[in-house]
Each structure stands twice: as structure tokens, then as C-alpha cells.
């Protein structure tokens, strides 16, 4: 196995990133990337988070969990391939003696894996998001093992992440890490890493950054025309209705006012301020002639600012125009 299966907690990662930087890029486990916690199943990545909803509500954890309680592990795929791969999820008591530095090779050397297993979710393909739930009965050191199988090649990719549930007493290593961290502080400040790290640790700061980004995002006021084409629309009720599926007639003409015929038209849209798309998947069902096209399946489920993106492809031109709509 050439891949290094080591997973290291944040502090260790930051420390080792200076001492032996090459390890960080190569290991498969749970790491911090920018503001989010990411699990790397080989090259396949997913947003990783753990909740203890009964004791800490919506608070997210990356690896270590404060107490033994009902825990929900969530992987939101950042790589589409995971949506089609059978994934299994195992939690074992740490019987490797390696603690934070346990790697896949250590797991493979465990004689009776089932004996050490406290939770096992057999392989299952989850097309949307992968979740498992386990109630920890006792605190201690644990190791999570996630394996994803490539359905065609049967190749198995794995991630290993040691984690701690509850306070289990300290060995010498946290002091070792703390001392190293202090030494790193100046480096972190200078490299800008600290800023990213802090941003992740503080929900308030990340929220503020998000709000800031939102405020900075330019409000798109593109009219339904580009330099080549102009698009107008009409609806049966005179204007788009809310909460009623209805059809539009799109009229497409060139900048000279000539109807554009035999165009391939696709339509998407949504509410930029709410991060959601149209509730339906409308499509052009008929060309009516004279540059008119029947667009069916339009539905708006709330008032507010919508943008409808009309992509028009003809032999001469391929362009997208945005129709802004205030409903």
C-alpha cells in the first residue's frame, strides 16, 4: 500500500505540515480545508461533520466528540463519484496502541476486527448524502474507517480517522503538541494559516464572512438580451403566477428584430438570494414559428427576485440571456 493512511488531528497536522510537509498532502483521513472539515477517501473528498443532536443540537464536530452520546456522522460528497459507490463505515475501539497516528496498515494488522468493532454499517450506495448514527456507550479512543468501492474496477478506497469520545485522560503527547503549537504560532500568523484556522473555529466569524460575501455579490441586473439576441416572454395570465404551474411563450429575435428559428433552447433559473433553483425542470416543448417557442413546466413558489436563464443555441450563435423577474 503506497498511500499513507495516517490521520492526524488538526494540531498535529499543522505541526507536521512544517516539520514534514509531504505527509499532509498524502494521507487519507479527516483534515481541515479552508473552513470545512473534509474526509479524504483516497482522492475522493466529502464534507465531514459529526453531530450530537441530543446534547449539543446543531453544533458540528470534525472528529473528537465531547461526550458519549447519540452521534450522527454526515458525509456530503464533494466528489460526485461517491454518490454511485457502495460505502461502508466502521468504528472500532483503538486497539492499535497508535492513537492519533494509527494508519490503515495498523488497522490491517488487527487480528479480529469484528471484536474491536463498536459500529458497522455494511456497504450501501447513498445517492445524495451518506449518514450513519451510533450511540457511544462509553468514552475512549476510537478509529473510524470508511471504505468506498469503485463499482467497475472493484477497487477499494479507504480513509482512517482516529478520534476521541469524551475526556479520557492525557498522555504526554498533548503537552508535546501544545509546545510545538506555541513554536508554530509566529509561523502561522505570518503564513496566513492562522486566519483560516480561526475562521473555521468560530461560527460567528464564518457567518460574518458569508454575510460579507453575500453583501459584496453584485446584484445581477442583466436584461433579457445580449449583443446578439433578444428574448421576450408572455404568459397566459399576463404575468408569471405564484404557486401555479404554467407555460410561457418565449420569443427570440436577433438584434435586427428578425425571428430566430430552429434554436435549441434550455431553461434554468432560481432565486440567487435564496440559493435555490426553480422548483420544476421546465423545457421547451414546441416551436410555434416566427421565433416563438412554447416553454412548459414553469412554476414559482414564492415572491421575490428570480432569474430565469435561457440558453439558446443555433447554428450561428450560442448564448445565455438572463430574464430578471420581481414577483
Amino acid at each position: 500500500m503506497s498511500r499513507k493512511g495516517t490521520s492526524i488531528r488538526l494540531a498535529a497536522i499543522l505541526t507536521l505540515s512544517v516539520l514534514v510537509p509531504q505527509i499532509v498532502g498524502a494521507h487519507g483521513g479527516v483534515v481541515q480545508e479552508d473552513d470545512i472539515c473534509v474526509i479524504k477517501v483516497s482522492y475522493l473528498r466529502a464534507h465531514f461533520k459529526v453531530y450530537q443532536p441530543r446534547v449539543s443540537g446543531h453544533e458540528q464536530f470534525c472528529e473528537d466528540l465531547p461526550i458519549a452520546s447519540e452521534s450522527v456522522f454526515v458525509m456530503e460528497y464533494l466528489h460526485d463519484a461517491l454518490a454511485t459507490m457502495p460505502i461502508d463505515f466502521r468504528i472500532i475501539r483503538d486497539v492499535t496502541g497508535k492513537g492519533r497516528f494509527a494508519r490503515l496498515e495498523d488497522i490491517e494488522m488487527i487480528g479480529d476486527l469484528d471484536d474491536a468493532t463498536v459500529f458497522y454499517q455494511p456497504a450501501i450506495t447513498e445517492p445524495d448524502v451518506f449518514t450513519v448514527i451510533h450511540r457511544f456507550d462509553e468514552e475512549g479512543d476510537f478509529i473510524g474507517i470508511v471504505s468506498a468501492t469503485q463499482p467497475d474496477t472493484r477497487k477499494v478506497y479507504a480513509a482512517v480517522f482516529p478520534f476521541e469520545v469524551g475526556y479520557t485522560g492525557v498522555g504526554y503527547w498533548p503537552f508535546f503538541v501544545a509546545a510545538l503549537l506555541l513554536l508554530q504560532l509566529q509561523y502561522l500568523l505570518m503564513s496566513g494559516r492562522f486566519k483560516r484556522w480561526f475562521g473555521r473555529r468560530s461560527a460567528a466569524v464564518s457567518a460574518a464572512v458569508l454575510v460579507g460575501l453575500f453583501l459584496l455579490a453584485p446584484l445581477d441586473t442583466v436584461v433579457a438580451a445580449d449583443t446578439e439576441l433578444r428574448v421576450t416572454y408572455s404568459t397566459p395570465a399576463g404575468q408569471p403566477e405564484i404557486n401555479k404551474i404554467h407555460s410561457w411563450v418565449l420569443h427570440v429575435e436577433s438584434k435586427d428584430g428578425l425571428p430566430v428559428e430552429k434554436a435549441e433552447i434550455s431553461v434554468t433559473g432560481g432565486m440567487p438570494e435564496h440559493d435555490h433553483g426553480l422548483p420544476t425542470r421546465p423545457r421547451v416543448t414546441e416551436e410555434l414559428g416566427g421565433g416563438d417557442y412554447r416553454l412548459e413546466g414553469m412554476r414559482f413558489h414564492m415572491g421575490g427576485y428570480w432569474e430565469i436563464e435561457v440558453t439558446i443555441v443555433t447554428e450561428q450563435v450560442s448564448t445565455t440571456v438572463v430574464i430578471p423577474l420581481q414577483l
Partner: protein, 420 residues
Amino acid sequence: MSRYPFLICGILIAAFTSLAGCQDRPSDPAAWTETELAILKSLALDSLPPLPPDPSNAVADRPRAIQFGRALFFDPRLSANNGISCASCHQPNRHFSDGLPKGQALGTSNRNTPGIIGTAYSPWLYWDGRRDSQWSQALSPLEDPEEQGSNRIQIVRVVAADDAYRDDYVSLFGPLPDLDDRLRFPGISGAAQGAEWQAAWLAMTPADQHEINRAFANLGKAIAAFERSLMPTQSRFDEFVAAVSGDEAAAASLLNDDELRGLRLFIGKAGCLQCHNGPLFTNNEFHNTGVLSAAGELPDKGRVSGVREVTRNPFNCLGEFSDDPERRCAELEFVRTGPELIGAFRTPSLRNVEFTAPYMHKGQLATLAEVLAHYNEAPDAMIGHNEAKPLGLGKRELRQLEAFLRTLSGPVEGYQSDSM
């Protein structure tokens, strides 16, 4: 660095705070702008359009079907233990809900029991919209092992064995299958999901299966005819809207100050209208609002699963049991899915909401105050993305919103408890 940036910031903050203070100062709660009046009108029951036809259900508006469906709705014989009817969970005196986090029938159902009133206006049924008509929805609990736990052959048999039911059925739909022929139609009770029943079903000819499915669908259509007749009636809020365009002072006497301010928040800065719009206070669409998972359960995936199920359900609008020869199924045909529908659930109506606690898809929130506190906070969703944004409302404002929600109550049309 000079201190000016801090000074300027301080001045700006002070200025904004005082401005905000001015805006928040209680104004006359009964004064409405033209735009606000138009919004109020759009929410009133008088604006509810006529019931849309359901071409997939030929008996949807026939009085005999309503009467037949009503009897089926209350009949516990349509269950594995002869003890559970639709009304066991959809209790009329609780506005067709049950007051429990999750429905309790033969077992515990998967989600909170949703109300029925006004669902004839919804293109989608269930919290995840996994059915696309009232009649196809009505079929599912009959065979769900946690709910009524029966099976379609047994259900049709109960109807065939009851003289009054048989007359109703034959007059509405024509002859019933010949259920006396036990070789063709095996007599197995118990849930349709059971192995024994599955084996017996698979051994039947496709033609016989079709005959049963047709009769089963017809019973759903009769139940839907009854459910379709259940409508909300005028609430105090509707009386207020009717009065407000004429005499604002008289109208104001219908709602107290807190209720008026709550209404103003509802149509304004609380943003409720984004989803709870129209006279039924719902857009019947699907939204992830970041509700916490229920105890001991995985986070519910919601609409992404519902879309898959409704598109392959044999009783859907495009299926062979629809009565519409033209298969007008725009909602199903143009349905879409996507990551934003992970953990998304259908917006429930807010009419009579004060009587339908607990709330949310698993009944996670016990009171209206908890629901409002949840939206005020708008926490990150466990799975998917919470569409809602934190509202920053004060405690008093939350109380006012709650007071307004309690003005949306009225009796149910289409059902009088003394007439059963």
C-alpha cells in the same frame, strides 16, 4: 494607524442604531399601505380559487363517492387488526392530525401525521411529496405495516363483503373482481410487505393483479373524494381582511395590538411569506429549514427520496390507473430534484396551526414558540443547506407572531362531527 477608522465606525454604528430605533418604535399597527393591503387580501380565504379539477379521479366530485369515501375513511376493518382507520391518525376533532410527534397505528409511522384540510390544492402529498394525488396517497397507509398493515386484496374483499359498500362501488366504478375465486385471488391477510403475501401476489396472473390494482385505486379515489371536500373556513384573520379595506378602525377591533403587529411581522421582516403564502398559507413546495434530526434517527433525506418514489409509483398521474386519457401531469412531468432538496420537506398550511402541535416532519418541535425560535435562529442544517436566514427578532416580536398565528383558526367545512 490613526484612530479615525474606529471613530468613524463608532459614529456610523450610533447613527444606524438610532435610525433602527426610530423604525422599531411602535407605530399605528392598524395603518396599512396599498401594497400591504394587497398582500393581506392574497392571504384571505376569499382569494382561494375554486377547487381545481382532478382529471385523474373521475369520481372526485360525485356526492356518492364523497359519502362512500367518508365511510371508508372511518372504517377500521380496512386494517390488519380491524382496529385502525384513516381517522385513527387523521382525527377530525384535531383538524385531522393526531397531536403526536409521529403517527401511532399498528406501529409507529415514519413521520408526523400531516393534516388533510385543503390538500386538494396541493400537487404533492406527504412531507416528502412521494405521492402526487390524494387518491394515490390514500392507498399507502392501508398497506403500510406500521399503519393499517392490510393488503389490497383483503381491502377489496372487505368492500365486496359489505352490501352497502358493494352497491356504492358498483354504482361508481362497475363490477368488482370475482373474489370468491380463491385460486385467482388468494385469501391472505396481513401486510402487503410480508413475504407470504408477496409470494402469493407474484403467483397471480398480471391480468388478475391489474384487476385488483384497479379496484384498489378506485377505493383510493372514493376516499380522495371525501378528503377533497374538507376545506378550511373563515378565521378571525379572514374577517379582519374582509373588514380592513372598508373601515380600518372597525377591522382593527377584530385583532388586538399584538396580533396586528404579529401580522405585520409575518408579511414583513419575518419573511414567512416566502413559503407560507396564498390563502392556505403554503406554497406546497419543499424547503430545507435545518430542523434537528429526531431522537435515535438519521437525518431524514426528505424530498430527494420523495421525488424518486413518486416518479416510479404505479399509481402516479402518468400511470395506468389515472382516469385522465390525456395524462395532464405537468407537475410530475416537469418535476426536478437536486442537492437543494436534500432534507427538504413540504411547507404545511398554517390554517388551524395552533391545534396541530407538535410540529415539523418528525414532530420535533412541541410548541409554536419553539418553531418561531427555530426560524429566528436558522441554524445550519445537519444535511443539505438551510434556506432560511436568521431573523434577529426579539422575544416580544416572537410572541406577537405567535399571537397572529392563533388568528388563523376556524372550523372545518365538509365535516360535522354530529352527522356521523
